[in-house]
């Protein structure tokens, strides 16, 4: 016997009466859904899959806005049930592992989707509202991940709240300068979309995109930096790490230096992709201080993936805002949890051990909640440490790699004789 749920009863009764559904933003619709009950999993109380779809998204949105309003675990199980029901490819994947909403009672037992899956199939629980692709710098366009989001509100809400928590906990708005192009120029880039929302929701007057059709527009960035120096308005520079290193070189060649107002900050992301040379994090901290007069506690590295809707940030700004003294580490918002898995068994790694990072992202409610990355990390004393991308090395020596095999095929297609 299932426990009747008032708001599902209401939905059902309106449907029986033939009354139109309540509008999505009607407060009556979800007024009783503030905290999911834990007595029964949400999916077992659902009147229909469609109702769960919408309810789950609304519950996640509410949780992202007010994490204290609910518990992560039952919401995670509800999201799993929703994805199991609505995404046949994921359902098959779970069933092959003997995992169903009926026997998974712990969100950490939810089968994680490897990022390889995003390269092979469209993982979504409903028609896509927006499609993002990974940059796929090494394996070519055909091997890029596809993240098809049925409900863009989840991504937008998670991106905004993440930035508010970890980049701008001390201010409602700040002047922004972005070396990341506008979203209309990179419509498939989830990062460009995130920055576009930052410009809409968090930007103060005077914010600029310093990106031209050909790439970064450094003279425009210099102009924005000088303006902040002059008027004392703090500025947040949003950039890829690669573009930042390019700008460091640009500034050094021209003997430029800036003294940005206190509170200015830099957010970089994307690793070494597109960088003219490798730089260590310590080297970047030093260079950012020398060039912008932005101290390390205002220099935040963001870690995200095209396959996720939520992001990790260096904890430094948040820790300073909270008055905590901790080593720099990657912090996740409350709706994003992390596990480190043993690469061989895919079971939780021993405490402190290196392993593959597995993300549990509620904001991915419309696609895949549990995502197994190819990034290596470990939990240190202060939190998550990123240790880089696992290469996925095959045997080498005299053994031919799969990449070499394809290279030979391409050479032959191009008429090059292999000898």
């Amino acid at each position: 016997m299932l426990t009747p749920d008032p708001y599902h009863v209401k939905i059902e009764s309106r449907r029986r009466r033939g009354a139109p559904a309540l509008p999505a933003n009607d407060s009556r619709r979800f007024s009783r859904a503030a905290k999911p009950r834990t007595r029964w999993p949400l999916w077992r109380r659902a009147a229909s899959v469609a109702a769960v779809d919408h309810v789950v998204h609304e519950l996640v949105l509410r949780f992202i806005e007010r994490p204290e309003s609910a518990d992560f675990a039952p919401l995670a199980l509800a999201v799993f049930a929703h994805q199991f029901e609505c995404c046949p490819a994921y359902q098959r994947f779970c069933e092959r592992r003997g995992a169903t909403p009926r026997n998974v009672a712990d969100w950490q037992r939810i089968p994680p989707v490897p990022i390889q899956a995003f390269k092979e199939v469209e993982l979504r629980c409903a028609p896509a509202e927006k499609v993002f692709r990974s940059t796929g710098t090494t394996a070519g366009r055909e091997r890029r991940s596809l993240h098809t989001l049925p409900d863009l509100r989840l991504y937008r809400c998670a991106a905004r709240r993440g930035m508010q928590l970890f980049l701008f906990p001390d201010v409602a708005r700040m002047r922004l300068a972005s070396l990341i192009p506008p979203a209309d120029r990179q419509p498939e880039s989830s990062l460009a979309q995130m920055v576009a929302w930052a410009f809409e929701d968090l930007a103060a007057p005077g914010s600029v995109y310093a990106a031209s059709p050909d790439g970064a527009d450094f003279p425009r960035l210099v102009e924005a930096l000088r303006r902040s120096e002059r008027d004392g308005e703090p500025l947040a520079l949003l950039t890829t790490t690669g573009a930042l290193i390019h700008f460091l070189d640009f500034a050094r060649e021209r003997d430029l230096a800036f003294r940005l107002p206190h509170g200015s900050r830099v957010m970089d992301t994307g690793g070494a992709k597109g960088a003219p040379r490798a730089m260590s994090r310590n080297g970047l901290l030093h260079a950012v201080w020398n060039l912008f007069a932005v101290p390390g506690y205002f220099f935040v590295n963001e870690y995200g993936m095209a396959e996720l809707s939520s992001q990790y940030y260096d904890s430094v700004v948040r820790d300073r805002f909270d008055g905590r003294h901790r080593a720099r580490h990657k912090a996740a918002p409350p709706w994003l949890r992390t596990a480190i898995l043993d690469p061989q068994t895919l079971q939780p790694a021993a405490p402190g051990a290196r392993g593959l990072i597995c993300h549990y992202d509620l904001a991915n409610a419309g696609t895949a909640f549990a995502v197994l990355s190819e990034d290596v990390g470990r939990f240190g004393d202060d939190g998550l440490e990123l240790l880089g991308r696992a290469a996925g090395a095959e045997a080498r020596g005299c053994s031919l790699s799969v990449a070499q095999w394809h290279e030979l095929a391409r050479e032959n297609d191009g008429g090059v004789v292999v000898s």
Binding site: A89, F93, R96, P114, Q116, A117, K119, E120, V121, P343, Q344, T345, L346, R354, G355, L356, E374, V376, A390, A391, G392, A393, E394, A395, R396, G397, C398, S399, L400, S401, V402, Q404, W405, H406, L408, A409, N412, V418, S419
Partner: protein, 409 residues
């Protein structure tokens, strides 16, 4: 960098002095010494093997049982009658023989120093062996065992090691060699070639394949034998070598391929207790996960996959063969149905120069198949299950084993 503080010049002079004596020794003496050394390793209670096995397992990342089971095959070719035939071939060659050979060996498979040193000695060349990072222990022990049998012959062999690109003493020793024989990845071999101005012989990146003919899938008994052979070729050295099959072609339709794939997966599981997989690092495990994930998520109608619970115990997938892609190592295999052996060779044509061997499960008297495979130019054609035990005179890289010493370029 080097295993002793001796200067490169002194080392080279010592080796060249030893080589002068080697040049005058009777062929029979050299062969006998090499055979006696091999016999010392192959006897059931060999002290050398007892010392080497834990070292090879630890350095190479193999299970001890794997080393016990597979290491003898790396030495056994020296105990057969082929040694003398190869020595005669070497003595008959007219080209100027190099007095000092530097041999750079890979580390994906252990025990390579045994045959490498023998080839140089048969050609009466002193040799510097640079083992792979994960095969240093065996190399040192092999030279010690040779010294225990014939100190004069062992004086012609020295072991040198450097990590990464050769520099300092390593570069000086390479420069002093009359011939450099490099085996390894194409990148590593190309980097070495750029540093060497003299004679240079290269064995770059290769892989192997398997073929199961229609008769072998016709009944359960034949299929079981074929699958066991393919599984053994895969499992030995955890599929890390260039003689490890990573594609298996099955003559017949998709159903035949699926049946064969299931049988190979079962044979791999059966073989796991005798030849257990070694530990994998994060990168290696990820390569297998990627293979499994890509197969599982892209599976279309007619595709099938058989994954063992344990990551290293076997991952076999059946695909259409378009695009043709080999599996990574660590006991992964892609099974491809083909109409005939000719269709397989058509598919493999773009990669003709990188396929080193083929393990064949077919009727022994199939002359037409033997002819086809021969014309295609596989350097090694072996019965399934025998691919990892090549004879001494196997045409490695498509030419005689002693070609680097006996041919002028």
């Amino acid at each position: 960098m080097s295993s002793s503080p001796e200067s490169p010049r002194a080392r080279v002079e010592r080796l060249l002095r030893a080589q002068r004596r080697l040049a005058t020794r009777p062929r029979e003496e050299i062969c006998a010494a090499l055979e006696a050394t091999a016999a010392a390793w192959l006897q059931s209670d060999s002290a050398w093997r007892a010392r080497a096995e834990p070292v090879v397992a630890r350095e190479g990342g193999f299970s001890p049982a794997m080393v016990r089971g597979a290491l003898p095959a790396m030495i056994a070719p020296l105990a057969g009658g082929e040694l003398r035939a190869l020595a005669a071939e070497a003595d008959a060659a007219a080209a100027a023989r190099p007095r000092l050979t530097a041999q750079v060996l890979p580390s994906n498979v252990p025990g390579l120093a045994a045959i490498a040193s023998a080839l140089a000695l048969l050609c009466r060349s002193a040799t510097l062996l640079k083992p792979g990072r994960r095969d240093r222990g065996f190399t040192e022990l092999w030279v010690q065992s040779l010294a225990a049998v014939d100190r004069e012959l062992a004086a012609c062999v020295d072991v040198v090691y450097w990590h990464g690109d050769p520099c300092g003493d390593g570069a000086a020793l390479l420069a002093a060699a009359d011939l450099v024989v490099a085996t390894g990845s194409d990148d590593a071999v190309a980097a070495l070639r750029a540093r060497c101005s003299g004679r240079f012989a290269a064995y770059g990146s290769r892989l192997s394949v398997a073929f199961i003919d229609a008769a072998s899938t016709a009944d359960a008994g034949s299929l079981r034998v074929a699958a066991q052979g393919v599984a053994r070729d895969i499992a030995v050295w955890d599929q890390r070598g260039c003689l490890s099959p990573r594609l298996c072609f099955v003559a017949g339709d998709g159903a035949a391929a699926r049946t064969a794939a299931a049988a190979i997966a079962a044979a791999l599981r059966e073989l796991a207790p005798a030849l257990p997989a070694g530990p994998m690092n994060a990168e290696e495990a990820l390569a297998v996960h990627r293979f499994r994930d890509a197969v599982e998520w892209s599976a279309a109608d007619g595709d099938a996959f058989f994954f063992a619970d344990e990551l290293g115990a076997g991952s076999v997938a059946v695909g259409s063969g378009a695009p043709l892609e080999p599996a990574p190592a660590h006991r992964c295999l892609r099974v491809v149905p083909v109409a005939t052996s000719g269709s397989m060779l058509d598919l493999l044509t773009p990669w003709r120069d990188v396929v080193e061997g083929i393990g064949v499960a077919a009727h022994p008297g199939d002359e037409a198949l033997a002819g086809e495979l021969g014309r295609f130019g596989f350097p090694l054609v072996a019965r399934a299950g025998e691919l990892q035990r090549p004879p001494l005179r196997w045409r490695h890289g498509g030419r005689s084993r002693i070609a680097p010493w006996t041919e002028s370029s």
